[in-house]
């Protein structure tokens, strides 16, 4: 069973359209949703959670249509939003009590464990937290009810590198269970590159690419060559190029380049930027 299946999902706002989005997140995997501001990442997440109405398409969450008994399905989903959304006057201890009354499977011991591990104070008000601390409390809450699917909207932004690394470890641990999956959107592509099995590029409401990360790395490569050598490479092999005084840097589809040149591994961020620019 797939944790998430999106088919032809469409949503039109004034001058923005999410255009027939198709995504599949298999169970046990992590998918990174990459895109610039306004690309449609948050809209996609809202549509997945059926918070906003769609104009077309279907969303299947943990095997069920997201319009049917979503309240029950949400018992198995943990979500962390960009703004977190916890009331400013609440403490972590109070949040635990509230969540205990909301989630059937709320695990107070697990919540306490995450608070300790992430060094989140129990009796400090949310409004007194730093942004990173707020995010950590949101993550602790999302992980403490035995969710099968985590949906994270820019959940790592605002965290310092050390904490971000720690949080990434927690996400990786979460998906050791083959029934657990994560959909994570982020601007910080290096984070996604570290933990994701699948990467989806979203640009201006259109899906540019959705592929297994390893396959993406096998499929695309960077070729350093002279301008004359670059001109000899078939146009359909070249995704993008950067010319400098020292030569040419080509982003290419490896199997379309003749001969057996030596490729440098592709950088996901670079790939996204070039694909987005090409699209523009």
């Amino acid at each position: 069973m797939n944790a998430l299946e999106i088919r032809d999902l469409t949503k039109h706002y004034g001058d923005f359209s999410l255009d027939h989005l198709n995504l599949t997140l298999p169970q046990g995997c992590i998918m990174g949703l990459v895109g610039e501001n306004g690309a449609g990442k948050s809209t996609t997440i809202k549509l997945i959670l059926n918070v906003i109405s769609r104009d077309g398409g279907t969303v299947t969450l943990l095997g069920k249509d997201n319009r049917e008994e979503l309240k029950l399905t949400k018992q198995d989903i943990g979500v962390v939003l960009d703004e977190v959304g916890i009331s400013a006057c609440l403490t972590a201890r109070q949040l635990g009590k509230i969540m205990k009354d909301i989630y059937r499977n709320w695990d107070q011991a697990a919540f306490d464990g995450f608070l300790t591990r992430l060094a989140v104070p129990r009796d400090k008000k949310f409004k007194e937290f730093s942004r990173g601390m707020k995010m950590k409390l949101g993550i602790a809450a999302a992980l403490s009810h035995h969710a099968k699917l985590l949906i994270l909207d820019e959940a790592t932004s605002g965290l310092d590198p050390v904490v971000r690394d720690e949080v990434m470890d927690i996400f990786s641990e979460f998906t050791r269970d083959e029934n657990h999956s994560i959909l994570i959107s982020s601007h910080i592509v290096s984070d996604l590159e570290k933990i994701c099995d699948y990467i989806a590029f979203l640009h201006k409401g259109k899906l540019l690419l959705c592929e297994e990360k390893d396959r993406m790395k096998e499929e695309y490569g960077v070729l350093h060559c002279t301008t004359q050598e670059a001109d000899a490479i078939p146009a359909d092999a070249v995704i993008g190029r950067k010319v400098s005084a020292y030569g040419c840097e080509l982003l290419v589809k490896r199997d379309r380049v003749p001969g057996n040149p030596s490729f440098s591994p592709v950088d996901i961020e670079q790939l996204f930027i070039i694909m987005a620019k090409e699209e523009n």
């Binding site: 918070v51 309240k71 939003l81 703004e83 977190v84 916890i86 009331s87 909301i102 989630y103």
Partner: protein, 204 residues
């Protein structure tokens, strides 16, 4: 639902303490309001009591709790119902305290009259749920910033009406007074259904 109410009680305690003190202050003043020319003092605590859920909703929206709630296993109908329940609880408590203050005031003003007291209760019970009933649907439809305008209108109308609403003259009103609170509750129920409908369609 229990979790939502628990959260609202935490918020009430943290954000609305000044409100609570204000209500208590008005209740004390209304208990000593004299012969009853001060309809404003007598009925205003009920308006404040009912307004607490309006405040809670405003905080929820400003702190992005509404959006967060959409990610939890809570339906929008439950979210709206939670706010109406909070409104009933707050209005109910203020109603009981106002009733006690009214009984005290009537005893103080030369003897307790049962009919007078029942009339007072009927008016208090009528007023208590109305501010929330009138404002919440607009807040759920247009957001709390725009919805608050409705609250100021309610306050304005209330203040203006206290000029005409003379407390002791209620004695002997021929209309069965019990109908007024029932009508008010019917408006409250209709308001709840409308809010559920509005909020289910709203895109946050």
């Amino acid at each position: 639902m229990k979790g939502l109410l628990r959260k609202d009680f935490y918020l009430l305690w943290n954000y609305c303490r000044l409100f609570i003190i204000l209500v208590l202050g008005f209740l004390v003043l209304s208990a000593f309001a004299g012969s009853g020319d001060n309809a404003f003092l007598v009925y205003y605590p009920c308006i404040l009591g009912s307004a607490m859920s309006i405040n809670l909703l405003a905080y929820d929206e400003a702190e992005h709790w509404c959006a967060y709630c959409d990610t939890l296993p809570v339906t929008r109908r439950q979210f709206v119902t939670g706010k109406y329940l909070m409104s009933l609880i707050c209005a109910g408590i203020v109603f009981l305290l106002s009733a006690a203050a009214s009984a005290f005031r009537l005893s103080l003003n030369g003897g307790f009259d049962g009919a007078d007291f029942v009339d007072q209760l009927a008016v208090l019970a009528t007023i208590s749920p109305l501010p929330a009933a009138l404002c919440l649907p607009l807040m759920f439809k247009y957001g709390t910033q725009k919805g608050r305008i409705a609250f100021f209108v309610v306050i304005g109308v209330f203040c203006a009406s206290t000029v005409f609403l003379d407390v002791p003259e209620l004695t002997g009103v021929s209309l069965p007074m019990i109908l007024l609170p029932l009508m008010s509750l019917a408006i409250f129920a209709a308001s709840w259904l409308l809010s559920v409908r509005f909020y289910q369609k709203r895109e946050i």
